[in-house]
C-alpha cells in the first residue's frame, strides 16, 4: 500500500505527520485537510466493497469520524493512510457483517470451489445472462456489475489486492484469515469474475 497521496509529497502541502500532530492537539482544521487529502481513496475503497454510492459515502464519513476519535492513540509508527485505511476497512467490514449480506449460495466460497476445479480452467461455465443490453455496456460497468456479484469476502480480497496492492500478508491481517485463505479467495474470486466477464472478452465492446 502506498503511504500517502501525491499531495502529501508536494513541498507546499503540509506533511501528513504534521497534520496528524495538529489533529491530535485538537485542530479540526488540520483534520479537515487530511479528510480532503484522503476522502477520494477511502470513498473508492468503501464504494468498491459495498457497491452502493450512498452507503459508501456514509461509511467513508464514519471512517473519518472513527479516525478522529482514535487519533489520540495513533503513535505515528505507521503511515497515516495505512492506519486510516484499516479503520475504513473495519468500518465497512463490520457493516457488511451486520447487514449479513452473503452471496445467495451460488457464489459462496464452498460451492464456487466445486465449480471451479482445475478441469474447468479453460472452460469456465458461461455467465448465463449476457443479453444484448449488456453487450453494449462498457467493460468498466460490466466489471463493476461482476464485482458486485461476488461474495463480500471475495470482493474484499480483490479490492485489497488489485486496487490497493496489499501483500498477501497484509490482506490476511486485514481480513483476519490465513494466507491460504487469502490465496483461495483471490483464486476463486478471479475465476468467478472470469466466468462473468467471459462474454466481454470473447466479444469485446
Amino acid at each position: 500500500m502506498s503511504a500517502a497521496a501525491p499531495a502529501a509529497t508536494d513541498p507546499v502541502e503540509p506533511l501528513d505527520v504534521d497534520l496528524v500532530k495538529r489533529s491530535q492537539a485538537g485542530d479540526t482544521r488540520a483534520f479537515d485537510l487530511l479528510v480532503t487529502r484522503y476522502r477520494s481513496r477511502i470513498y473508492a475503497m468503501t464504494y468498491h466493497l459495498i457497491q452502493n454510492e450512498t452507503e459508501a459515502w456514509d461509511l467513508a464519513q464514519e471512517a473519518f469520524i472513527k479516525a478522529w476519535r482514535a487519533l489520540p492513540n495513533f503513535k505515528l509508527d505507521a503511515a497515516f493512510y495505512t492506519w486510516l485505511y484499516r479503520i475504513a476497512h473495519n468500518v465497512t467490514y463490520d457493516w457488511l457483517r451486520k447487514k449479513k449480506i452473503q452471496g445467495d449460495g451460488e457464489f459462496d466460497d464452498e460451492r464456487t470451489e466445486h465449480r471451479a476445479m482445475p478441469g474447468s480452467r479453460t472452460a469456465p461455465q458461461g455467465f448465463d445472462a449476457p443479453d444484448r443490453a449488456m453487450k453494449r455496456q462498457e467493460l468498466g460497468s460490466r466489471i463493476h456489475e461482476a464485482i458486485a456479484r461476488l461474495t463480500p469476502d471475495h470482493r474484499q480480497a480483490i479490492v485489497l489486492r488489485e486496487i490497493e496492492g496489499l501483500s498477501y500478508e497484509e490482506i490476511a491481517e486485514m481480513m483476519k484469515c490465513s494466507l491460504g485463505t487469502v490465496m483461495s479467495r483471490l483464486f476463486y474470486a478471479r475465476k468467478k469474475l472470469q466466468e462473468m466477464l467471459k462474454d466481454t472478452y470473447e466479444n469485446p465492446v
Binding site: Q51, N52, D104
Partner: protein, 185 residues
C-alpha cells in the same frame, strides 16, 4: 458518479442505520439475478424480540390559525405533560392564536433503526438516534418530510421537557407546525 444536482445532496446524509431503502438498493445491486436473497420470498419472519431503544418522543402536527372558525374540528388533545402548549406556541408563532393538534404520535426511538414519527400521512419526521447525550438528552439526526420530499435535515440534541417547535408550510389561512418532545424516562 453523476449525482451532482444540488437537490440530490439531500440523499447523502445520515444513512448509517440498517433499516432503509438501502435494503432494496443493496438487494438490487448484489443479488440482481439471484433473488432467493429477497426477503419477500422468505417465509414470514418469526416476530423479533423488542429492538433496543434510546428513548421515546412525542411528535405532533399542529394547525395554527388566527380564526377559530377555520379549525378542522380535530379532537386530538395534547398529553398532560405538554403544559399550556397552545400558549407556548402562540409566543413563537405570531400572529396565530389558535393551535389545533391534527395528529400525534408517541414513538420509541430505536437505537439501530430509523424511527418514523408520523402524526399525519402528509407531513412526518424521521429520527436516527446518535446515542444518549449528557443530562438525559439524546443526540439525533432529524429529518422533516413532506410526502416524498425531505424539507430539512438537522443534527440536534433533545432534552425532555424542552420541545422542538418546527414551523412548516403554510396551509389554508394558517400554518402547519411540528412539536417534538423527548419524554422523560
Amino acid at each position: 458518479m453523476t449525482k451532482e444536482i444540488p437537490n440530490q445532496k439531500s440523499e447523502w446524509r445520515g444513512r448509517v442505520k440498517p433499516l432503509r431503502h438501502s435494503c432494496f438498493v443493496i438487494l438490487s445491486s448484489f443479488v440482481l439475478l439471484n433473488s432467493s436473497f429477497c426477503p419477500a420470498q422468505q417465509p414470514a419472519p418469526v416476530p423479533a424480540k423488542k429492538p433496543a431503544t434510546d428513548g421515546k418522543v412525542w411528535g405532533a402536527l399542529v394547525y395554527a390559525t388566527t380564526d377559530a372558525a377555520k379549525l378542522t374540528g380535530s379532537t386530538e388533545k395534547a398529553p398532560e405533560n405538554q403544559k399550556d402548549l397552545s400558549g407556548r406556541l402562540g409566543k413563537v408563532f405570531t400572529p396565530y392564536t389558535h393551535f389545533e393538534i391534527i395528529g400525534q404520535h408517541f414513538q420509541d426511538v430505536f437505537r439501530e433503526y430509523e424511527s418514523w414519527v408520523v402524526p399525519s400521512r402528509d407531513l412526518f419526521l424521521k429520527i436516527d438516534s446518535k446515542g444518549p447525550a449528557a443530562g438525559g438528552g439524546m443526540n439525533l439526526h432529524l429529518q422533516v418530510w413532506r410526502e416524498q420530499q425531505v424539507l430539512v435535515k438537522t443534527d440536534a440534541v433533545l432534552h425532555p421537557g424542552s420541545p422542538l417547535f418546527i414551523g412548516g408550510p403554510k396551509w389554508r389561512d394558517g400554518q402547519l407546525l411540528f412539536v417534538l418532545d423527548l419524554q422523560r424516562k
